[in-house]
Symmetry: C2
Subunit: 249 residues, 2 copies
């Protein structure tokens, strides 16, 4: 009993700090997924010092644009983002969706400007890491660099896989693959693998998968008719993960 009454204020404090985004990396619920993994306690404090826990973003608010000068790496703290790249004549490709613990903007760290733009899909918050400071800290903490390398490599591997989807899969295979990929990512974050919210619009999904909105809509209804999934607006339930898996090509 006395234990409970001791702990309670601590929990409240934590919740309050988390809400105010003052929480240290060490105590962050994303610790397991985020950059600091593998760093020692002392190193973490150094990392903490350069992390700017930035204010909230509203849906459709821009995190950065393609032409803007690159200076900062972002990690999603809560909510979700999409990134896009566009042709000179204005066609756009959604290059990725980003969830808590994931880095946005890694493809820019070798050049003067972000080449893509990032936009919040819902009310979201991020941690901002001024890249110059990350580099400086990296000189002292090789494990930090290694973590970054891993992150980049992971994203690269994901993108190679995505090329397979874009280049070789049918519309049904594309959507099945996409839904399962989301499912895995949510599961990794401790959410249900079977039911989740699609924070992005159908048209974002369509664009990302190299399809027309109408096609995505049709495949959604087909999957539903076939009993593979259930949709209610933005909420999807995967009813038959195995059969979906078989559909991935």
């Amino acid at each position: 009993m006395s234990q409970t009454s001791n702990i309670q204020p601590l929990i409240e404090d934590l919740a309050k700090r988390e809400q105010e985004q003052q929480i240290a990396c060490e105590d962050c619920s994303l610790y397991r997924l985020c950059l600091p993994l593998g760093l020692h306690r002392d190193d973490l404090l150094l990392l903490d010092e350069i992390v700017m826990r930035s204010g909230n973003y509203q849906a459709k608010q821009s995190l950065f644009t393609a032409t803007e000068a690159f200076s900062t790496l972002f990690v999603v703290r809560s909510g979700s983002f999409k990134t896009m790249i566009s042709t000179s004549n204005g066609r756009e490709q959604v290059t990725g969706f980003y969830f808590p613990g994931e880095f946005v903007g890694l493809e820019a760290l070798h050049m003067p400007s972000y080449q893509s733009s990032a936009v919040a899909l819902e009310t979201s918050s991020i941690c901002a890491l001024p890249y110059q400071k990350v580099q400086a800290l990296g000189e002292k903490l090789p494990r930090l660099q290694s973590q970054l390398l891993n992150r980049l490599s992971k994203e690269l591997a994901g993108d190679k896989n995505f090329m397979l989807l874009l280049g070789k899969k049918t519309s049904e295979e594309k959507l099945a693959t996409y839904l399962l990929s989301l499912s895995k990512r949510f599961e990794l974050r401790g959410f249900s693998a079977k039911q989740f919210v699609l924070t992005m619009s159908r048209s974002d999904i369509a664009n990302h998968l190299g399809l027309a909105v109408e096609t995505i809509s049709r495949v959604f209804t087909k999957f539903q008719d076939d009993g593979l999934i259930k949709t209610e607006g933005k909420v999807v339930s995967l009813a038959e993960i195995e059969r979906l898996q078989a559909l991935c090509g």
Copy 2:
């Protein structure tokens, strides 16, 4: 005169060592493009020690396969390679082509096995970097890590751009974009931007661009009929780079 006679043996020695692939990073003609850029002389010697200048590969010979355990990063020394990834049911996507000074296998460095496979397109040679040793050296040489980060980031940026091609471009835009991208890469290596050899087959190109061989063949002939390019088997000449550029979408 005496100078010439002094230098001549040195040049011959260099050529011989280059041929035998014993040449040090410091003296390598790819220095400008490769990993060591930005390292100090002393650091270079350390890097030299872990680089294994591997034997030749013949056309169609495998550098690594998707299931093989990851242990080594490769840098193309001469020739060219393609990488592929495949679906469970055997469809393949060519994920990239690699020329001298470029890294192959970067997407694997966070996981136990190469997820893609790499194959030589012609007689080629590589430098092999055991990744464990790179990591160990990286602890001492932050600039080495930074270089690696840059490489990864550059490849990532290229892949994001390639998503735009796969997802949003027509067959003509795809081929035009592809030819110009090759042109730029060759130019960077000191070769002609206007005329070069396509070491990969039409079917490799088609696969990479998410098209059928027949389509690629037709677009090649169309471009030729339109006076944009000239082809003679594997040799292409870009006759009107500007107009090609305009076609990129």
